[in-house]
């Protein structure tokens, strides 16, 4: 996967780059409007992470240029502006998704993976990981070809894990992904554990391996070790 990160805030740009850089991924960065424009005019990317407010210009203009040239790069807007108008404008102009700062890197990764999947699989939308086969359209999971029943949340959590495989995902990030912003009442996330326990159990009962590891009480990691 080839990803371009257009973000002027150095700290954020570096974190995203580090998180996305792994085997098989190429990450490029641009910190200003001019640098970003130069890159998108020369190279094609699987996904472009686009900040709206940039030194020297507006990210929306970059999006317009991409669309005017009929480039099919996936575009995910990351913006501090949680305004509906911006969101609608961005999506109307052809952005694939819109994520508001601050966000968890795992959330960003999940969104980017979804965009890339949509671009690559062109509708067939089956996600495979070892013996797991997940149909994103039908929302069904099969382990070694045997269908396994997952609840809505377990399904969402499994995809989230696979999108972030090899990464430790904090409990906060999981909670926010599953329950949205309303989750601030929980000072312990015990109920996350019950979902994870169920996923593990269902996969293992169908003959799959246990891929979910607890990480020092901070979060969980999905990995094929």
């Amino acid at each position: 996967m080839k990803i371009l990160i257009i973000e002027d805030e150095e700290g954020l740009r570096e974190s995203i780059e580090e998180y996305f850089t792994e085997a098989g991924n190429i990450c490029e960065t641009a910190a200003s409007y001019a640098a970003a424009l130069a890159k998108v005019e020369l190279y094609r990317y699987d996904c472009i992470l686009l900040d709206i407010t940039l030194p020297g210009g507006n990210g929306i203009d970059i999006l317009k240029k991409l669309k005017a040239n009929n480039y099919t790069d996936g575009v995910l807007i990351i913006s501090a502006k949680n305004s509906l108008d911006d969101r609608l404008q961005g999506l109307d102009l052809g952005a694939d998704d819109y994520l508001v700062k601050p966000f968890h890197l795992s959330e960003l990764k999940a969104r980017v993976s979804a965009i890339i999947r949509r671009k690559m699989f062109n509708g067939s939308n089956v996600l495979n990981f070892n013996e797991l086969s997940i149909d994103l359209m039908a929302k069904t999971v099969a382990v070694n070809g045997t269908p396994v029943k997952f609840t809505r949340k377990e399904f969402a959590l499994l995809i989230y894990f696979i999108s972030n495989k090899g990464k430790v995902i904090s409990k906060n990030a999981i909670a926010e992904h599953l329950w949205g912003d309303g989750i601030d009442l929980a000072n312990n996330f015990d109920f996350i554990y019950s979902h994870i326990k169920n996923i593990r159990k269902k996969i293992m009962e169908a003959g799959g391996k246990d891929y979910i590891y607890a990480a020092y009480g901070m979060g969980y990691k999905f990995a094929d070790q």
Binding site: E9, L12, N82, S83, W179, I183, D184, M218
Partner: protein
């Protein structure tokens, strides 16, 4: 007390006092003049007696007269002092009347006589009464006219004042409506209007500045929060943490997510107040609530809260984003302030949505639960949830009301 009433009162008292004083002076003056006249008439009579005596050298014959009585009494020489006096006039068979008399003396030959001339004052007094009555009548009429015109004129004169006042009562900082200028040529009111308008503009501008500040500050905070968040996400990838370190990291995560939510809430409040979120969609509340209840199922289970819901059909036109926040806030609120093994009762009808929850067995003060950053010391929330809910309801024209019916705290949204 109204200004015009006060004015009329002062006016009336002053007029009555002046009128009374004038009346007394007037009465005295008239009665002095008329007594003087009477005295002159008595003097004329006396002179006639003197002339007669001088000519005929005997006393004149006294004829009975209606308004005048003359009596001659013989007296010691030089024993009578000439003087006017007030007396009583006795007419035959009639009531005694007030009269004016003159005592004088005359020498006829070598005999000395005391002359007593008394005239009735009844006509004079009648005259005084008539004059006084007419005067009082005129003054009263004048007073009445004055009061009525004052009332009418004052009412009309103060009209611009009252219109400015009613404008002030309608004044709202969040409102962009301009104040209409009243129709008046009175300088004072024009000045008042100008000042009031200028003040309203200043207040609105200050309020707007404050909102802009809140918005900008929150926006500026978003980036550092995003950086902290992403650095934490990166940090936990480095692995090999001790239990102590991971506890610290968890605390950091919680604090950052709270900070971020607080910031989002502030931004949201500004946006609702600025009416930036006024898109309208057709929404099925029943479906939204059912979704949300499913979504929060784990949280209910975690606290062992029983949720009883009777959700009727209700469709509204509103911003999806805002309605989701409203429902989320109210239900999360019902969970947060609930006790373990508590209850939440949700009911939706076409008129209202009520969310009842068990919790502390004390009614909350409905005055301040909706104010910003008002929260129980034990609450983990931002203290903005109910404020936001209230603002959302107001922006949609709904009412959010709190009540307490043991053992339930009840929040009702009236559509």
């Amino acid at each position: 007390m109204k200004l015009s009433e006060r004015y009329n009162q002062v006016n009336l008292i002053a007029t009555i006092v002046i009128m009374l004083i004038t009346g007394v002076i007037y009465y005295q003056a008239i009665s002095l003049i008329l007594t003087n006249q009477k005295d002159n008439s008595l003097k004329v009579e006396e002179q006639e007696v003197f002339d007669y005596v001088k000519l005929n050298h005997h006393l004149p014959q006294v004829f009975a007269s209606k308004d005048q009585q003359i009596t001659f009494i013989s007296a010691e020489p030089n024993s009578v002092k000439r003087e006017f006096f007030n007396t009583t006039y006795y007419r035959e068979k009639d009531e005694p009347e007030s009269g004016r008399g003159l005592v004088s003396s005359v020498k006829v030959g070598d005999r000395y006589y005391k002359i007593l001339i008394v005239e009735s004052k009844v006509e004079t007094e009648d005259l005084i009464q008539i004059i006084f009555g007419i005067t009082i009548g005129v003054i009263l009429l004048l007073l009445l006219v004055l009061v009525i015109t004052n009332r009418l004129i004052l009412g009309r004169l103060w009209q611009p004042f009252y219109s400015i006042l009613s404008e002030l009562k309608l004044f709202n900082v969040t409102d962009s409506r301009e104040m209409p200028s009243p129709n008046t040529t009175i300088d004072e009111f024009n000045e008042l209007q100008a000042e009031v308008t200028a003040m309203a503009e200043r207040v609105k501008k200050d309020y707007k500045d404050l909102k802009t500040f809140t918005e900008n500050a929150s926006h500026e905070l978003l980036t550092p929060i995003a950086v902290i968040n992403s650095k934490l996400d990166t940090l936990i990838q480095t692995e090999n943490f001790s239990e102590h370190q991971s506890k610290l990291l968890n605390d950091l995560y919680s604090a950052v997510s709270r900070l971020s939510r607080l910031n989002q809430s502030l931004l949201l409040l500004v946006k609702i107040e600025n009416k930036l979120l006024n898109d309208r969609q057709h929404l099925d509340l029943q479906e939204l609530i059912d979704d949300l209840l499913y979504q929060l199922e784990d949280i209910f289970n975690d606290k062992e809260i029983t949720v009883i819901s009777t959700i009727g059909e209700k469709e509204i036109d509103a911003s999806n984003y805002l309605i989701e926040i409203l429902l989320n806030n109210l239900i999360i609120n019902a969970v947060r302030h609930n006790r373990t093994n508590g209850e939440i009762i949700i009911s939706l009808t076409s008129q209202n949505l009520t969310i009842k929850n068990t919790g502390e067995q004390v009614a909350l003060n409905p005055e301040n639960i909706f104010t910003r950053f008002h929260k129980a010391s034990t609450s983990e929330g931002s203290g903005l949830g109910l404020t936001i809910s209230k603002q959302i309801c107001e922006s949609l024209g709904y009412q959010l009301v709190y009540s307490y019916e043991e053992p339930y705290h009840i929040f009702t949204v009236n559509f």
